[in-house]
């Protein structure tokens, strides 16, 4: 009974939310648009692919988000809004039904139908496609994981076209945040005719058939990707930009120079240690907001020294996150004391009790813990990080905290990024730099960092009780209860000190004041060009 009530509440709230028209560029009243609606935004790197099944990096996903549209989408504030599906409801705990709009079309004019989603999902999970994200999203679809591992045929994927305009999705357990997950274009529709006709070349200009607000005009590797407004798009009336040029500039300083010389309207991310400078010099251009990402250090819980919880706790307690955020990184990041960061749905932020203590008390307690563990001042810890001025600065700060407050010596080991990844994945480290950015807005994406046997758990820790709570939470159809269980699990697992949370990411960047529609309340840092416009200037 209770289950039915909760489900119908969710369904009705979703329908209520959808009662209004799908929102596109939200313009304040009286906004005067520029005659030329063209935007140049730096994308930080060359997209590895424009195939929605293969897109992995932030840059590639920025592009597929403009070129394609999934069942749902996320707007400038990160809220889930209708995409090709105009409404959806959870008909039972593990079944969702999405009703597609009838006026959605591919860029070649043919209608977007349920079969396009079925094909897109099957192709994404097919082992032959070898999508790096197959297991990340495969877990949310019935048989998704088994299909991606080649244990079941692609036809077993839990998606079905009930009729041309109805998609039914089965999940292996109740996934309350499925509408958020399906906004990711890895789970978008794919035009089978285009793939069959052009094969591997189907993503090239002149061949790519897409269903998003924009279509591919030009793609010069390592130079630019140009997209233009898609005249076939169902909501074209709400798309202001006529043309968007994505640049693949990796060097932060080169990016800023292009911005200053007027050849770029959007700096991907400011180079380290420049935020305060540009905040003073260009107060109207600077944008900075926390996003769903966590900077942390992994403790190797299987290492001879680090396997002692008291040592891990002592090392975590003495790091002054406020000082780190304000003086060392100085780019607006937020101190973190747990695995769940601010703004994540599905669990509350938890913090250690000692985070509110004065530092002297923290140090005193930490010293006691170390003494109890038999670690004497002068003992050595080894810190491994990838070569970068930014990470080096943070590592030096941590080492000085451990030295000045606990008397520990830190051996610093810097290496190339891929070498660090290999060492971390192989457990060949004592303390290592780490970081995580959410794939979807739910606590479970962060919990994968500390779950038993998870691919993302570099610490090698396992808390069976927390595992059980996460399992219970995921089985629950009551969002409040699920949130409570996941919060409890996050707290429990972090009480083991498997890792050292440091800061919540921000993305400091410059955006021209005439670019409208940019919101600093976008926790996933995902901006559809559909929501942006150029103000008269």
């Amino acid at each position: 009974m209770r289950k039915t009530t909760v489900l119908s509440t969710i369904a009705s709230s979703v329908l209520l939310a959808l009662a209004g028209h799908a929102m596109a560029a939200k313009m304040p009243a009286g906004t005067q648009l520029a005659a030329k609606q063209e935007l140049i935004r730096n994308n930080g790197s060359e997209p590895e692919s424009l195939d929605p099944a293969l897109a992995e990096s932030v840059g590639a996903n920025n592009l597929t988000r403009d070129l394609f549209e999934g069942l749902t989408a996320t707007d400038a504030d990160g809220k889930v809004v209708p995409g090709v599906a105009e409404s959806w409801k959870q008909t039972d705990p593990t079944t969702w039904v999405f009703k597609l709009r009838k006026n959605a079309k591919w860029s070649n004019g043919t209608p977007v139908v349920a079969a396009d989603f079925v094909y897109g999902w099957q192709r994404f999970l097919d082992p032959k496609t070898a999508s790096p994200y197959a297991s990340t999203y495969g877990v949310f679809v019935l048989n998704g994981l088994e299909v991606s591992e080649g244990k079941k045929p692609v036809s077993a994927v839990g998606i079905r076209a009930v009729d041309p305009y109805t998609v039914e999705v089965k999940t292996p357990y109740p996934v309350s945040f499925l509408p958020d997950v399906v906004s990711n274009l890895n789970l978008g529709p794919v035009n089978k005719a285009a793939v069959d006709k052009f094969g591997k070349d189907w993503t090239k200009p002149g061949k790519l058939v897409s269903n998003g607000a924009f279509m591919l005009k030009d793609w010069q590797v390592n130079s630019k990707v140009v997209i233009e407004k898609n005249p076939q798009y169902w909501d074209k009336g709400n798309v202001q930009l006529g043309k968007v040029t994505y640049l693949p500039v990796e060097d932060g300083f080169a990016d800023v120079k292009l911005y200053q010389s007027g050849e770029n309207d959007w700096v991907y991310q400011l180079p380290p240690a420049t935020y305060e400078k540009y905040k003073k010099e260009m107060p109207k251009d600077i944008r900075n907001a926390p996003m769903l990402g966590l900077r942390y250090y992994s403790f190797n819980n299987k290492d001879a020294l680090m396997k002692d919880k008291r040592v891990r706790q002592a090392l975590s307690m003495v790091i002054d996150r406020d000082l780190l955020a304000q003086k060392i990184t100085a780019d607006g990041q937020v101190p973190a004391y747990g695995v769940i960061v601010r703004g994540v749905s599905g669990a509350d932020v938890t913090a250690y009790e000692w985070s509110k203590w004065p530092m002297a008390k923290r140090v005193e307690e930490a010293k006691k813990l170390l003494a109890a563990a038999g670690v004497k001042p002068g003992a050595k810890v080894k810190f491994t990080y990838n070569t970068s001025e930014y990470h080096k600065k943070m590592a030096l700060f941590a080492a000085s905290e451990w030295k000045s407050k606990l008397g520990l010596d830190t051996e610093m080991e810097s290496m190339e990024f891929k070498v660090l990844l290999k060492k971390r994945h192989d457990g060949d480290f004592q303390i290592a730099r780490n970081g995580w950015v959410a794939d979807y807005n739910d606590a479970t994406t962060f919990l994968t960092l500390v779950q038993c046997g998870s691919d993302q758990n570099d610490n090698g820790n396992c808390n069976q009780k927390a595992e059980e709570l996460i399992k219970q939470g995921n089985q629950s159809t009551d969002p409040a209860k699920r949130k409570q269980l996941l919060t409890q699990a996050a707290k429990l697992v972090m009480d083991d000190y498997p890792m050292l949370p440091l800061l919540q990411y921000t993305v400091p960047r410059l955006v021209k004041p005439y670019v409208g529609g940019y919101s600093t309340k976008n926790p996933m840092d995902r901006y559809r060009s559909k929501d942006l416009y150029i103000i008269k200037h």
């Binding site: 790096p132 080649g150 070349d201 010069q220 990796e250 120079k257 200053q260």
Partner: protein, 306 residues
């Protein structure tokens, strides 16, 4: 000479094979693979990826597979840029690097030889000191400093030229990177030309020419110039090759879509096929450039015959 050229071209094959084999082994020995990323892929997904790119085969089979594709002119599929083959990537990047590198080398040769000649003929004069000063600046100031300074002056303070990027061989986008590369190369060529010409001008046959009453202009152009060019030609080979390696910095500073950028990204991403493809390209270019330099010796010095 034709048989010499033919033999030299034939020699490329074992050189290429040795370079490929060493690089192939080094790449596979380097820790971290193409599919290691911050978000670790599951064992099943890794197996799918390795199967897709034949990395599940024993190393020697992968190597033979690569050589077989290479014989058919196929440099393989890029591991990182899934939508492009290495042939596509190289075909798009090479014209950019070749245009900027080639034109700047040509310009440097013209300017460097001219400046070097003037400096040598007016040794210890103001012109000489100026040329030497420019030469030294070009040698000691690294391109990652000089590049941003050029951008600051010509793209931000005086907004005459774009700060970077590439627009279908639009000359405006080529000027700053070409200026940077030219400046660096001129410093080398100018210094070598100056030193070489000073030496030639003090040799006996020039003294004889002077004694015959020939005007300086004729002495320089007809008698001294050709032998003085020999050391310049010697440095041209390495300079041409270093235009490609210098491009690693230049292309990053000016955001150019050339070979340098591919090399950096290929190595960082452990994109084995892309790196090997570029190694093949650079090896072939090196062999060809060295051959051209050797042939140029024969033209400059009648004593050299192949």
């Amino acid at each position: 000479m034709w048989s010499y050229t033919f033999r030299r071209v034939l020699m490329t094959i074992p050189t290429l094979l040795a370079v490929i084999t060493v690089c192939y082994l080094l790449l596979h020995l380097t820790p971290g693979g193409p599919f290691d990323s911050e978000r670790k892929v599951s064992a099943a997904v890794l197996a799918n990826l390795q199967a897709k790119y034949h990395l599940d085969l024993p190393l020697w089979q992968q190597y033979l597979y690569y050589l077989k594709s290479l014989l058919q002119g196929d440099l393989g599929a890029s591991f990182r840029y899934a939508d492009w083959s290495v042939n596509d990537l190289v075909a798009k990047a090479l014209p950019v690097s070749a245009t900027i590198g080639g034109l700047s080398l040509l310009l440097s040769l013209l300017i460097g030889v001219t400046l070097g000649t003037f400096a040598a003929l007016r040794q210890n004069s103001a012109v000489d000191y100026l040329v030497m000063l420019l030469g030294n600046i070009g040698s000691v100031v690294p391109s990652f400093v000089m590049g941003p300074v050029l951008i600051l002056i010509f793209a931000i303070w005086l907004p005459w030229l774009p700060a970077g990027g590439w627009m279908d061989f639009d000359v405006r986008y080529m000027l700053l990177p070409m200026a940077l590369l030219t400046f660096i190369n001129v410093s080398t060529i100018g210094r070598v030309m100056r030193g070489s010409l000073i030496e030639v001008m003090s040799s006996n046959f020039i003294r004889t020419a002077r004694a015959k009453g020939l005007p300086t202009r004729t002495i320089v152009l007809r008698h001294a110039f050709k032998p003085a060019l020999m050391p310049v030609v010697s440095v041209l080979g390495p300079l041409a090759i270093s235009s490609i390696t210098a491009a690693i910095v230049t292309e990053s500073v000016f955001s150019l879509p050339g070979i340098g950028k591919l090399i950096v990204n290929g190595a960082a991403n452990r994109d084995y096929t892309l790196v090997l493809g570029l190694v093949v390209l650079i090896t072939v270019l090196t062999v060809l450039i060295n051959l051209l330099v050797d042939l140029a010796y024969a033209w400059l010095d009648p004593k050299i015959r192949y």
